[in-house]
């Protein structure tokens, strides 16, 4: 649609302005797990922590259990595809605390076919959300109990939400008439 | 005596004849446009993976057994009920004993959880 000369290499992830106070759960996390959090950013009211992939589970457990964080709800798990970047996927987790009523976004960057540790052991709610990311982006999750496609048919080829996947689909046969399906199914 | 039943037998014949004639008439006039998919058993649009006649947990064979017991007992009560007027106290006590045995069994079944379904 729009004129888009070169795909962007990644989100800006701007650092927080100097005069903004950082939420209380970030510095305890940084001291408890040094160099797990590689970057903290802030944009239009959302705090984001970018985390090293191999430390993700530690960070998540900390955020789940630490008193000042207690993020007991994993609202959303999703990904963004930035093809020019070597670690082309941003997997982002939207966390919410029903006790403190605050939010944070945690992101990890992974390369194609690089596995992300599954957070289903921390939040069971991540189960389907991770399956959807797997289905749509092809990002495998380590330790996921039931990693199957969820929205697309099991035998589907490709991962639709990747930027290099065409909107019209991979060019499968267009079957306008339902009887065509039957013929496909019953002809030997 | 048996003459009273003649109309009933007649009715049974007429009833069956009615059912069969209706089916035949419908067979003559109804539309027929079946195809392979239409003739599959219904399972919400999915081809059934397993047969419906597998061995299957029918938790209620107990129900069937209890039913047989109870129903046979109640059948015994029909003639008793009709002539209770003449049997008077004797019939009453007889039937009480009879039903008592049934009630004991019933209470036992209840206590053992045979009446808990599912």
């Amino acid at each position: 649609m729009g004129v888009n000369p070169a795909p962007p290499a990644g989100p800006p992830d701007p650092p927080p302005p100097a005069d903004l106070s950082v939420p209380g759960f970030i510095s305890p996390l940084q001291s408890a797990l040094p160099d797990a959090v590689t970057q903290v950013s802030y944009w239009v009211g959302d705090w984001t922590m970018i985390v090293a992939t191999n430390r993700l589970l530690d960070v998540m457990r900390h955020l789940r259990t630490a008193q000042e964080a207690s993020f007991d709800a994993c609202c959303d798990v999703t990904a963004t595809d930035w093809p020019p970047r070597a670690e082309r996927f941003d997997v982002s987790y939207a966390l919410f605390s029903t006790r403190h009523r605050h939010r944070v976004r945690v992101k990890v960057r992974v390369a194609d076919s690089q596995a992300v540790p599954s957070v289903t052991s921390v939040w069971p709610s991540a189960n389907w959300l991770e399956r959807e990311v797997f289905d749509m982006f092809g990002i495998p999750f380590d330790g996921h109990p039931d990693l199957r496609r969820i929205l697309m048919p099991d035998e589907w080829q490709g991962h639709p939400q990747r930027k290099d996947y065409p909107l019209e689909g991979p060019g499968e046969m267009l079957l306008e008439n339902p009887m065509d399906w039957l013929r496909l199914r019953y002809e030997p | 005596m048996l003459r009273a039943y003649i109309p009933i037998f007649l009715f049974i014949l007429v009833g069956i004849a009615f059912a069969i004639v209706t089916l035949i008439v419908s067979r003559l006039v109804h539309a027929e446009k079946a195809n392979e998919v239409k003739l599959e058993p219904y399972e919400c649009g999915i081809e059934p993976q397993t047969d419906a006649r597998d061995r299957y947990s029918v938790r209620y064979y107990l129900v069937a057994m209890l039913f047989v017991i109870f129903d046979v007992e109640t059948v015994f009560m029909f003639p008793w009920a009709v002539v209770l007027d003449r049997l008077a106290l004797f019939g009453l006590i007889e039937m009480f004993l009879f039903v008592l045995i049934l009630v004991v069994g019933y209470a036992y079944a209840w206590k053992k959880g045979a009446l808990e379904w599912a």
Partner: protein, 368 residues
């Protein structure tokens, strides 16, 4: 003993089933009539709304959000528009925020009407279904008068509303509130104290508050478990911070409590609408929106309380093209449906339909 061994019966409930509220497929493993295990299969209504949105103009996406939760289009519109407004830091005029609140509360009533009707129908009470549709029709009339559509409204625009409310509309909304208040007892008479209804819904699908949060429930199913979580209160949007209303919560966390929570939400919605009508400010209904919508590069997650639960939008803009770079919806139905296998395990077949009803899903939103 092998003589008496039995196999588990594997039975497909859906996608073509009267009570799965759409093309949901639940593969049940049964022992007798008891559910031993369940696998939920979705995707039959997957239309790729997220992918489509990454190829549509920012304003065009409003139309796509209608098609997600198609029985509650206005709240989806609201969630999307607010997310883009947050990304662009647009100030929405107060009048527009009030009208948006009225619309989304009317929509909540309509959605709960549909839910209560179908839920009662699933449990066999058919009259409640028609009573609810009778009232829902009045709300659809109000929406039709406002925006011309009865189901897929596209009733909001980035920065405000497409048009002001017609004259006399506010009065009609008030009249509807007065009428609807007298109709809630009709539903309650048929269900709340009905013995069969209670036996069918009490102690079925019990889930504790902590478990409910962990498994990702939001909205009325979560509040039924006693967790006072409501985006309208916790992270106010539109004009909710200006109104008084309560967040009803249950205690037992069973189907009956979820039912009671939603019934009380009818009343709270009426309360909000009445306050909004009474205090409706004058002024424009569209803020200062640039002609070409092109948010600066960045990403944000914004959630609202849809009738089904937390409806979140995660939108990434690259700041260069006139389409979103990444458009992600966090659908409440999808996340709530995830709890289904856990909720129905050990219950009977008849409870499965009651459970699907009690978590209130719309497959258009589950599959997108």
């Amino acid at each position: 003993m092998s003589l008496f061994d039995t196999d588990e019966l594997v039975i497909n409930m859906g996608p073509q089933h009267p009570s799965t509220h759409g093309v949901l497929r639940v593969v049940l493993r049964l022992d007798g009539e008891r559910v031993v295990g369940a696998d939920v299969v979705i995707g039959y209504l997957h239309r790729g709304i997220e992918k489509l949105s990454e190829h549509r103009d920012w304003q065009q996406i409003v139309m796509l959000t209608d098609r997600m939760d198609y029985v509650s289009a206005a709240t989806s519109n609201l969630g999307y528009c607010e997310t883009v407004e947050k990304l662009m830091q647009i100030e929405v005029p107060r009048r527009a925020r009030y009208i948006r609140t009225i619309l989304s509360e009317l929509q909540r009533i309509a959605s709960h009407n549909l839910w209560l009707g179908t839920h009662a129908m699933d449990i066999g009470a058919m009259t409640v279904f028609l009573y609810n549709f009778r009232e829902r029709e009045l709300i659809l009339d109000l929406f039709e008068e406002f925006c011309g559509a009865r189901l897929t409204y596209s009733s909001m625009r980035i920065g405000g509303l497409p048009l002001d409310i017609p004259s006399g509309w506010a009065r009609k909304v008030s009249a509807f509130c007065d009428l609807f208040e007298t109709k809630i007892p009709e539903y309650e008479d048929l269900l709340t104290h009905n013995r069969i209804w209670k036996e069918r819904t009490r102690n079925i699908g019990v889930i504790s508050g902590a478990d409910a949060i962990a498994i990702g429930l939001t909205g009325p199913p979560l509040r039924g478990s006693g967790v006072p979580r409501d985006v309208r209160k916790d992270e106010p949007y539109a004009a909710y911070d200006e109104f008084d209303f309560d967040v009803p919560i249950g205690s037992a966390g069973d189907i009956y409590d979820r039912y009671l929570v939603r019934l009380e939400e009818f009343r709270q919605s009426l309360r909000i609408i009445r306050q909004a009508i009474a205090g409706l400010p004058e002024g424009p209904v569209v803020g200062k929106v640039p002609r070409l919508i092109k948010p600066p590069a960045g990403e944000t997650y914004h959630a609202i309380e849809s009738p089904k639960g937390e409806l979140g939008f995660f939108i990434v803009s690259d700041g260069r093209s006139n389409v979103p770079y990444r458009f992600r919806v966090r659908p409440p139905s999808f996340c709530n449906l995830q709890a289904l296998p856990r909720l129905i395990k050990g219950h009977l077949v008849a409870d499965v339909v009651a459970m699907i009803g009690s978590i209130d899903i719309v497959l258009g939103e589950v599959d997108r």
